[in-house]
Every structure is written in structure tokens, then in C-alpha cells.
């Protein structure tokens, strides 16, 4: 049994669109980088957790081994919506805590191209006869007839629910996009590195009000990897690897508990609050101790709600929090200094590993132009609808 789990290596590809590469090219690039970072090779790894959504039935962990080295270790292929990457890390963490492994590798990878998050395909029936189908006895397509359940609409409605209760404005939601696009200009790994003015954001095409195009994350390709190890293993590693090790102070995964309203409109708040509270308790750390946060800003509206869910602001005060400048990189609690999903990109399965990469890189003082000086503690959060929420709290090693 290990009392602690440590990150000893991490890497990510640049996020973007890479039609010339396949899924394994991306996963191998991130994995090779993480191994090199820890000065280890695949022979040292006892467990592989692989996260991916769109090719989830293709046994990607084994494909990765075939592409770069087969050692016979257990492989766990995981899929958990947009929390897939965090779930892969969680699997490796649990294995180390249980004493079954001493070095674990978690990889998240996705190749989405330009497929879009709007979904929906067209079918053509030969003869149309209405017949009730499914658990709602529907006879016609529900999307657009009984409101919207596509991602942009769901996260827009989550935002307006908060707005109706707490008086948040579209301008305050837009400020989240302003901040994250601005942050991304310092991150060479981001899919986009373009600053937008508030006028450009508010004047852009409306996707699902209040979110305009720059307030929605792009689709894209990318991979990230994290190498984890036990206390006992860490003690045997090279001094330079030990010096750069980062402690996993909390690793938490939650799903939706029953709530009344959650049956018709996904509730992104309750499971996030539960995950955050469990993580803070586990780490013995409060939100006031955080040096930086990477949270799941799939849409600008979502980020604002998570200020409240992760207890970064007073209850109901997320609008004032962004207005105060607190989550900007020079503010009180920098949020999404990577550019976030809005600008760094959101290759689904990679996202939950990439945000841990970002926190670890800052805690090591190796984030270059975007470094948050003196970063000691960071929190990484992802949520995927279904729902699953992952929160990891990471701490700089006491020297």
C-alpha cells in the first residue's frame, strides 16, 4: 500500500487538427513525452489506463502497446464522457493506492477533426407511419420540438438558470471567453492563440444564447499522458525526478445523485460540488489555498457556474467574481491559464489528462511564458454529461 501517489512524468501534444496523424500517433507522442520526462521506459510501467471516446470499442490501450511496446501489463480502456481522461488517471491512482502497481500510466487521446458538437444525422424512412418508440413513447424527433438537449443548448440553459437566480448578464458570461482566449496567447500548445475583444465576442454569431461562437469550445485532436508512482517507488528514482515530483493530494470521481430538476435538464452543479467538497476534505486544502485552477469551460456559461461549484467565489457571486478580475492570470485565483477548453481546445478523451499536465507544469515552475509564479497547489476539474465529474488536487513537493 502507498499512502501517496506522485506525478513523475507528464506530456501533451499540441491540441488542434491533425488529419495527417492517426489516434495512435497522438497517443504515442504524449506517452513518449511522459516517459522521457520521468526518465523511464515502458518496462517500468505496471498498469495502463487509456481514455478515449470516439474509438472506444477499438481497445486503444492495446493498440498503444502494439504501436510502442507490449509488456503484458493490465490495460484498462475507459470511457466516461468528457471526464474520460480524469477517469483514466483515477484508475491508475486507485491501483497504486491499493498496492497493486507502483508505476501507472494514464493516457487520454481523441481525434475529432471538424465533426462539430451539434450532432444529429438525417434518416430517411421509406413509408412514414407514426409508432411510439422508446421510454417516452415518442413518434417524432424530440430535438428542437421539445426544447434542446444538444450540448450547446444544455450548457446555455445551465447558464441562464444561474442567471435568472443570481442576476448574471450575457456580458459577464462573455468575459469568461475574453479571459480564456487572452490566456491562450501565452500557450504554444493551444489550438487557438487569438485574443478577442468583448465587442467581438458579444457581436459574434449566436450559437445558443447567451453563448456566441467564441464562447463555445472547438472540436479538435490531441493527447496527453501522466505517469504516476507510489511513495516507495519514488524513493528509488533519480534525485532530479524526485525533485520534480508532484503530489496527488486528492483524486475524486462523482456521478449525478438524484435531484428533481435533473431528470429533464442535466444538472452540472451538484456532482461538481460533491466532487470539489470531497477533494478539499481529502487534501485538507481549501479553495483559498489554490494557486491556480483548470476547470471545464466547454462553454463560457459553464465556467461561470463552476466558480460557484468549486467554491472559488461566494455563493451566487460568480458574476461579481469574473468582474473583479479574480480568475484572470494576474488575479486572486487564476483560472484556465492554459486558455481552457474554449481556446486550448477540447479533444474529449485528452482533456482530463491535459488539465493535470497544465497544473503539474506550473507546480514544477516549468510553464514558460504562462507560468503562475510561486504556484504551490492546483485543482483540475472536468465534467462530462451523463454525468461524470473528476477533480484532482495537486501539490508541489515540499523541498
Amino acid at each position: 500500500m502507498s499512502n501517496n501517489v506522485w506525478v513523475i512524468g507528464t506530456s501533451m501534444t499540441r491540441f488542434g487538427r491533425f488529419p495527417e496523424k492517426d489516434l495512435m500517433d497522438l497517443a504515442v507522442e504524449a506517452t513518449t513525452g511522459a516517459l522521457k520526462d520521468a526518465d523511464l521506459d515502458l518496462a517500468a510501467v505496471n498498469i495502463l489506463a487509456m481514455g478515449n471516446l470516439y474509438e472506444a470499442t477499438s481497445h486503444n490501450g492495446q493498440r498503444l502497446q502494439q504501436a510502442m511496446g507490449q509488456t503484458g501489463i493490465p490495460v484498462y480502456n475507459v470511457v466516461n464522457a468528457c471526464a474520460t481522461g480524469a477517469t483514466a488517471i483515477r484508475v491508475a491512482v486507485m491501483s497504486i493506492l491499493a498496492g497493486e502497481s507502483d508505476i501507472g500510466l494514464a493516457v487520454g487521446v481523441e481525434q475529432m477533426g471538424k465533426m462539430g458538437m451539434l450532432g444529429g444525422g438525417k434518416k430517411r424512412d421509406e413509408k412514414k407511419i407514426f409508432a411510439p418508440k422508446g421510454r417516452r413513447g415518442g413518434v417524432v424527433k424530440a430535438e428542437g420540438l421539445f426544447g434542446t438537449n444538444l450540448m450547446p443548448g444544455v450548457f446555455a440553459q445551465a447558464g441562464t438558470e444561474y442567471a435568472l437566480t443570481h442576476g448574471v448578464t450575457q456580458t459577464q458570461f462573455a468575459r469568461v471567453a475574453h479571459k480564456n482566449h487572452l490566456h491562450s496567447t501565452l500557450n504554444p500548445l493551444a489550438q487557438y492563440q487569438k485574443e478577442f475583444s468583448m465587442e467581438e465576442i458579444l457581436g459574434a454569431e449566436v450559437i445558443s444564447w447567451p453563448n456566441t461562437l467564441p464562447m463555445c469550445c472547438p472540436t479538435g485532436d490531441g493527447a496527453a499522458a501522466v505517469l504516476l508512482c507510489s511513495d516507495a517507488k519514488l524513493a528509488t528514482l533519480d534525485p532530479d525526478v524526485r525533485r520534480r515530483a508532484v503530489k496527488v493530494s486528492a483524486s475524486v470521481l462523482t456521478s449525478d445523485p438524484y435531484v428533481d430538476g435533473g431528470q429533464v435538464q442535466a444538472d452540472i452543479n451538484t456532482l461538481t460540488r460533491n466532487a470539489a467538497d470531497q477533494a478539499y476534505a481529502k487534501a485538507g486544502i481549501g479553495p483559498e489555498d489554490l494557486s491556480l485552477v483548470e476547470l471545464h469551460d466547454c462553454f463560457a456559461t459553464a465556467e461561470l457556474l463552476h466558480y460557484d461549484n468549486l467554491r472559488l467565489c461566494e455563493p451566487g457571486a460568480a458574476g461579481q467574481f469574473i468582474d473583479s478580475g479574480a480568475p484572470y492570470r494576474d488575479g486572486r485565483i487564476p483560472v484556465n491559464v492554459s486558455g481552457g477548453l474554449l481556446s486550448k481546445g477540447h479533444p474529449l478523451g485528452a482533456t482530463g489528462v491535459a488539465n493535470v499536465f497544465e497544473i503539474v507544469t506550473h507546480l514544477r515552475g516549468e510553464a514558460g511564458a504562462r507560468q503562475i509564479e510561486g504556484a504551490k497547489v492546483g485543482l483540475a476539474h472536468v465534467i462530462g454529461l451523463a454525468s461524470a465529474c473528476g477533480v484532482h488536487i495537486l501539490e508541489k513537493r515540499a523541498s
Binding site: 451539434l118 421539445f146 440553459q157
Partner: protein, 135 residues
């Protein structure tokens, strides 16, 4: 007159169209879709229960991209712990929607199949909205 059927089985047609929910007999949690057991208390008995035809908007969006026609989607609190998601007509500017906006249910023909059967759907409109309902 054409045969009419509800577009979803939780819509009841007739003189006073309304929605119905499956209520858990043990804890009264409400569901529009069929459940094997109650997600709140795990009980397995449900009964059909009629719902109010008026409610208050608790969330909304205006879908501009990805739809044939832009439309407004709302979540409506019907009281007694039940919310429903639906379209809203009569308020095309989402910035108009304020807290406590009251809406009421109406029905309309959403489609006709090749045997002439009409599928009737429901949506909401602001209370006081006076548009004549064209079928």
C-alpha cells in the same frame, strides 16, 4: 377529422390537454420516461399523475445554429417538484425572459404520417400571449 395521437406518451390530448408524469408511489418523485425503479428511492411502483398546465421559466436558450429554424428552449417549473423541457413561442428575444416569467401549455400538430395520422406536440407560450392557435 384526422386521427390524432400524442407525439410523446406523457402528453394527454382531449378537451383539456395536459402533461402526465410517472409518480413513484413511495416518494412521489416524477419521471416522464419509463423507469425500472425510482432513481431517488429505488421503489418499483409508479402511478400516472396529471400535471399543471401553467408554470414558471427556470432556464432558457435561443438555439440559433444547428436548427432548421431558430427556436427558444425553456425549462418550466410546473410545481410539485416537476420540471419539463419544451419549446417556447411568443418570446423570440431571449433577453426578454425575466425571473418568474409565467407560461402556459398549448398543443399543435407537429407532423402527419403517410396514413394521415397527426402527431400532436406541446409547447409553452407566455401567459397573456394572445396569438390565435393555428393547428
Amino acid at each position: 377529422m384526422a386521427v390524432q395521437i400524442p407525439a410523446v406518451d406523457y402528453l394527454v390530448l382531449g378537451d383539456q390537454p395536459h402533461l402526465q408524469a410517472w409518480r413513484c408511489v413511495a416518494c412521489s418523485a416524477a419521471y416522464f420516461d419509463r423507469r425500472n425503479a425510482c432513481a431517488r428511492c429505488f421503489a418499483t411502483s409508479f402511478s400516472r399523475s396529471p400535471l399543471a398546465t401553467e408554470g414558471v421559466i427556470t432556464a432558457f436558450t435561443r438555439v440559433e445554429r444547428g436548427a432548421k429554424q431558430p427556436f427558444t428552449s425553456v425549462v418550466v417549473d410546473l410545481g410539485e417538484g416537476v420540471t419539463v423541457k419544451a419549446n417556447l413561442r411568443g418570446m423570440d428575444d431571449p433577453a426578454q425572459i425575466k425571473p418568474e416569467t409565467k407560461v402556459r401549455l398549448y398543443t399543435f400538430v407537429a407532423g402527419v404520417d403517410d396514413e394521415g395520422t397527426e402527431a400532436v406536440a406541446f409547447a409553452f407560450e407566455p401567459v397573456g400571449h394572445s396569438e390565435v392557435v393555428g393547428a
